[in-house]
């Protein structure tokens, strides 16, 4: 098999030609942007937003930074202005069930109007009501009723007194009531004088007094009744006066809301309540140092709390809303979602009323759209269940969590639920979506539409232009410097590099936006108003430098010989593999020394990493695959009498992935055949059981890591990297590497089969098996077979010796 040619410089980095753009700078663009590369997600969003049936809520899934929220918002911005503006909602006092505040629905802007109207009405009543009750008409009518009672009482007693007087008896007030006494010349007869009277006279007096006492008792029995009648008359008068006083005020306010039946009914209830409690409007509360005053009416109760009943708690005011609301709730806690009932402390007791009901995001989004971050939602206790309940029942019921879980025991209220018509859009990672879909039976019922956002998009002129528009719109919106087309092209190249694929562009717009902001900062800091490609490159270099501390420390250790990496000589059973280190959102590549040792054995290839539990399952799988390849290719007809060990030298933190399996195989072949490997070449790529080299990830980082080390040691023109041929399309390498390749100082070889790689690494042809299955002499494969055969024979002889030895003893 022919060894591959090294890649041309042009294959290492797919440039974006600035010449493909019509504009000079992004200022020439119209400043608008459009969503690119997310057609699938957009279709899903369109479907989710257009179906008004239950459960067609949306879950936008994809990695963070892919513009899920921006895309949804941009889509909604075209949709919501044409949607009808939802109604206002408010809570009012329920005069029939005081613990169940009423929810009132009003057209947009009317809730605040009603609230102001009622506040104004109450203020007015403080002037109007005292005026009515201090009017001469009222005073005289009231006095008349009271005097009528007094006169009735006085008249009855006067009559009795007169009757008594005619019989020389006087009515006298005692400490506890009344009594009758016989008098003589206006004075009560003393007991001695009385006893001197004739018995007949005394009997007459006593009989008379008994009669008078009966009469007095019957009069006094009437007094409570007269009193009650008087109070009823006074109450009727008060009702008439207060009713008459407030009637025109209510007529005026009722006219404004005549089309709203619930509001009119509430106004009726308020009117009736004010008539019943008119005295609350008549007197100011006495201050603490003022002595209590005598009052004609009942003493007003705590004023501030009493008048709360006439207020309106405007939950949702859509007076300034155009179209449907779009609410983003950044902290989707249970109370922030469904609202809350607050309490105030009064004399050490927690009390509440309907004015302390606070709206939640669902109230604000009612009639529109609510956007929530799924992860944050799930992290908030009870929030997910509360949201599901609201969506399932299509109404928002405010429940105090503290009450629900008996954390506090105090008087609370149960507001009437508010009907809910909202589209909920959850934004989250794919893993969350799949977990919810699998484990939560309600989820699929309530979130029937999934908008799956792409991580990357095809790289073509349209997507290039979409990047340019994105940058242009950011410049306009955020008042940034505009980018010239070379700078735009450089951003696009970086977008491609982020995907690790020269034919794709990343849809992680967050990182692109960050790059734009940093470049703008650099350009404006230099006093320029246009961002150039140099700015972009400088920013990328700076980003790289900021993140390269660990990379430099490790490379320094290699340079000092602490970590042994040979890039110059040839060694048997040793090869430079390439690994990628991931630190947060950054990753970098570095060479690592892989060694293989072979000896006589029973066909096992020992992966030392796995033996000590430092190798991951994928890595172990890779080693087993190469064992399979080895046995099938070189020992198909006889036992593989080999025991080999493979290890990543100086690896202390575990190894995962199969991208080093081809390197391990090369090292093993070298060890078996005793052919040295060129250490100036590094290798990456996985291998299958047929010896085919397969694609791996992080190819750019790996090449760059090895190049940096070689470059630091001095490029000799021999240095290079073997990569899977299928990874060529992923190459988006740094400019310095491209230049080094151009000048012949560095080389990259696309390898598709082990035979190609071993030839490059040893300088000896791998050889192709003849029709009889024999390998040509002098080839690597021949030497491997010969060595394995020799080992097998030696193994066989050991086995014969082992069988014969017991006979000789006998």
């Amino acid at each position: 098999m022919q060894a591959p040619e090294k890649l041309a410089a042009s294959q290492l980095f797919i440039r974006c030609d600035p010449g493909e753009f019509d504009f000079k700078t992004t200022a020439d663009l119209d400043g608008t942007t459009e969503i690119a590369g997310q057609q699938r997600a957009l279709d899903a969003i369109r479907l989710g937003m257009s179906i008004r049936h239950d459960g067609f809520n949306l879950f936008a899934l994809g990695p963070s930074g892919t513009g899920k929220q921006s895309t949804v918002l941009q889509f909604l911005s075209t949709l919501t202005p044409e949607a009808p503006c939802p109604d206002d909602w408010c809570y009012v006092y329920n005069f029939e069930k005081t613990r169940t505040p009423k929810a009132l629905r009003l057209p947009p802007g009317k809730a605040c109007m009603l609230s102001n109207d009622l506040d104004h009405l109450v203020d007015t009543l403080f002037n109007v009501m005292p005026a009515a009750f201090s009017s001469e008409e009222y005073q005289s009518r009231e006095k008349e009723i009271r005097e009528s009672f007094q006169e009735k009482q006085a008249s009855a007693i006067d009559k009795l007194e007169l009757d008594a007087k005619q019989h020389d008896v006087s009515l006298i007030r005692t400490p506890g009531g009344f009594a009758f006494a016989p008098t003589l010349k206006g004075k009560v007869i003393e007991s001695d004088d009385y006893m001197r009277l004739k018995k007949e006279k005394r009997d007459t007096i006593e009989m008379e007094i008994e009669r008078l006492r009966d009469s007095l008792q019957s009069i006094m029995a009437q007094i409570p009744k007269w009193n009650r009648e008087t109070l009823e008359k006074l109450n009727a008068l008060n009702r008439d006066v207060s009713g008459f006083t407030i009637k025109p005020l209510f007529a005026e306010i009722r006219t404004k809301y005549r089309d709203l039946g619930d509001v009119v009914r509430h106004l009726d209830a308020i009117e009736n309540d004010i008539v019943e409690n008119f005295e609350q409007f008549l007197d100011q509360e006495p201050s603490d140092d003022e002595p209590p005053r005598t009052h004609t009416f009942r003493k007003p109760m705590n004023r501030s709390r009493f008048f709360i009943r006439y207020r309106v708690n405007v939950m949702i005011d859509n007076s300034r809303m155009n179209g449907a609301p779009v609410i983003i709730e950044d902290k989707p806690g249970c109370q922030n979602l469904i609202g809350d009932i607050e309490h105030t402390s009064q004399l050490g007791t927690l009390v509440t009323d309907f004015t302390l009901i606070k709206p939640g995001a669902l109230h604000r989004a009612n009639g529109g759209y609510l956007i929530l971050d799924a992860r944050r939602l799930l992290l908030e206790p009870f929030a997910w269940e509360a949201l599901k309940k609201a969506l399932r029942t299509r109404q928002v019921s405010i429940e105090s969590l503290a009450q629900l879980y008996s954390l506090v025991s105090t008087i609370s209220i149960e507001p009437e639920p508010i009907p809910l018509d909202v589209k909920v859009i959850l934004l989250g990672e794919r893993r969350l979506y799949y977990m919810l879909s699998t484990y939560d039976p309600d989820f699929n019922e309530l979130f029937k539409v999934a908008a799956d956002f792409e991580d990357e998009m095809d790289r073509n002129h349209e997507t290039h232009l979409a990047y340019a528009r994105l940058i242009g719109s950011m410049a306009v919106r955020e008042k940034l410097c505009h980018f010239d087309r070379e700078a735009v092209a450089r951003v696009i190249e970086q977008g491609s590099r982020l995907t690790g694929d020269a034919t794709k562009l990343t849809t992680n717009l967050q990182s692109i936006c960050d790059l734009v902001h940093e470049a703008n900062h650099r350009a404006s800091g230099s006093g320029r108003d246009i961002v150039t490609a140099e700015d972009i490159q400088a920013v990328l270099d700076a980003q790289l430098y900021r993140a390269s501390r660990m990379q430099e420390r490790l490379r320094e250790a290699i340079m000092r010989g602490t970590i042994l990496i040979d890039t110059d000589s040839e060694k048997i059973g040793q090869i430079n593999g390439l690994s990628v280190y991931s630190l947060g959102d950054r990753s970098f590549g570095l060479p690592c020394r892989i060694t293989a040792r072979a000896r006589l054995g029973e066909g096992e290839v020992i992966d030392i990493e796995r033996e000590v539990d430092m190798g991951g399952p994928i890595h172990s799988k890779g080693v087993m695959i190469l064992s399979g390849f080895l046995g099938a290719r070189y020992a198909a007809d006889e036992p593989l009498s080999l025991s080999a060990t493979l290890v990543f030298e100086q690896s202390y933190s575990g190894v995962e992935g199969d991208s080093a399996s081809s390197a391990e195989l090369y090292a093993l072949l070298s060890a078996i055949a005793a052919i040295p490997i060129r250490q100036w070449l590094a290798v990456t790529g996985s291998v299958n059981q047929y010896g085919e080299v397969q694609a791996i990830g992080g190819v750019n980082e790996k090449i760059e890591g090895y190049f940096d080390l070689c470059s630091q040691r001095g490029l000799t023109g021999r240095h290079g990297v073997l990569i899977p041929a299928s990874n060529v399309s992923n190459l988006m390498l740094r400019n310095d590497i491209v230049k080094a390749v151009e000048s012949g100082l560095f080389a990259i070889y696309p390898v598709s089969h082990i035979d190609q790689g071993i030839e490059l690494l040893t300088g000896i042809p791998a050889g192709e098996a003849g029709p009889d299955g024999a390998w040509p002499p002098g080839t690597v494969n021949r030497r491997v077979v010969e060595r394995l055969k020799a080992m097998a024979e030696k193994q066989k002889s050991y086995e014969v010796d082992a069988k014969e030895k017991p006979k000789k003893r006998r």
């Binding site: 001469e136 005097e147 007094q150 006169e151 009482q153 006085a154 007693i157 006067d158 007194e161 006087s170 009515l171 006298i172 007030r173 005692t174 400490p175 506890g176 009531g177 009344f178 009594a179 006494a181 016989p182 004075k187 009560v188 007869i189 003393e190 007991s191 009385y194 006893m195 006593e206 007094i209 008994e210 006492r213 007095l216 008792q217 006094m220 029995a221 005598t294």
Partner: protein, 283 residues
């Protein structure tokens, strides 16, 4: 208070106490006046001799006020009740006097109530009592003691009712040009408080009467610093005048004892108005 107004004439004020709401109002008004005039307060409680006689009668039964049941009371029991009332009245007087920082005396006497009050009050320069006391009927007019003290007494008398202030609110004086009405005016100015205002009713039907009045007492009124309004109103119809009093919410009505107004008219007026009244009788 201007120096031209002599207040030395009222050095002691007697107040009739019987624990009724009228009596409570009387005590408050008397204490207020006493504090203003730096006078002594004399509280008088009368144990009604008629009641004690009544208790000695074999058939005596009290008809209870709120239950209409009857109950026999023996003289000892009644005396205990009266002593209790006297103690309450004395405590009430003491509390009020301490509040106003007044010199005070309390007398509990036994006898016919109007007579005892009239005789006890001879030691005082003014007597204050409720418009009606503990009389059985709730009649609108004056009670028997009030009527006797007001019309037949020798000293100045003020009749109070609950729910209104006496000297600290507006004052109304009837002025007919007589020496008696001038005394009444001087007394009114003497007892007026910082919040008081004065309605001076010129009752002489003569068209120039108001002008004369201003000429005669204008300087006196002005020197007192009180806000005064002059009204020219011939007092011929007491009912009409009572309505007028109610309309302007006049407050304490101050009368001289020898006005050139028929007594019948004054009696009707005093009976009808529901405000405190002060009859000024100079020494």
């Amino acid at each position: 208070m201007p120096s031209s107004i002599k207040t030395g004439a009222i050095r002691s004020i007697a107040v009739a106490l019987d624990c009724s709401p009228h009596s409570r109002a009387s005590l408050d008004a008397a204490a207020e006046l006493a504090a203003r005039l730096k006078a002594e307060l004399i509280g008088i409680f009368v144990e009604d001799i008629n009641l004690l006689h009544l208790a000695g009668l074999p058939f005596f039964e009290e008809v209870r006020l709120y239950s209409t049941t009857t109950e026999k009371l023996d003289p000892d029991q009644l005396e205990r009740l009266l002593r209790l009332q006297a103690r309450q009245a004395g405590e009430m007087l003491q509390r009020t006097s301490e509040t106003f920082r007044l010199r005070h005396t309390f007398r509990a006497l036994r006898g016919i109530v109007p007579e005892i009050i009239m005789s006890a009050a001879t030691d005082a320069d003014m007597i204050v009592l409720g418009r009606s006391g503990r009389s059985p009927s709730c009649r609108k007019g004056l009670g028997s003691t009030a009527m006797a003290a007001f019309w037949e007494g020798k000293k100045s008398v003020m009749l109070m009712r609950p729910g209104v202030t006496a000297a600290d609110g507006p004052l109304m004086v009837l002025y007919d040009g007589s020496e008696s009405s001038r005394h009444a005016l001087e007394t009114a100015l003497a007892i007026s408080g910082p919040e008081s205002s004065l309605h001076l009713i010129v009752t002489n039907p003569d068209p120039d009467a108001e002008e004369h009045c201003r000429h005669e007492v204008g300087a006196l009124v002005e020197s007192s610093g009180i806000a005064a309004e002059y009204h020219h109103l011939a007092l011929t119809d007491p009912h009409q005048f009572a309505r007028y009093v109610r309309m302007i919410d006049s407050g304490l009505l101050v009368l001289g004892n020898r006005l050139n107004i028929p007594e019948e008219i004054l009696r009707t007026l005093v009976d009808e108005i529901d405000y405190p009244v002060l009859m000024v009788r100079p020494e």
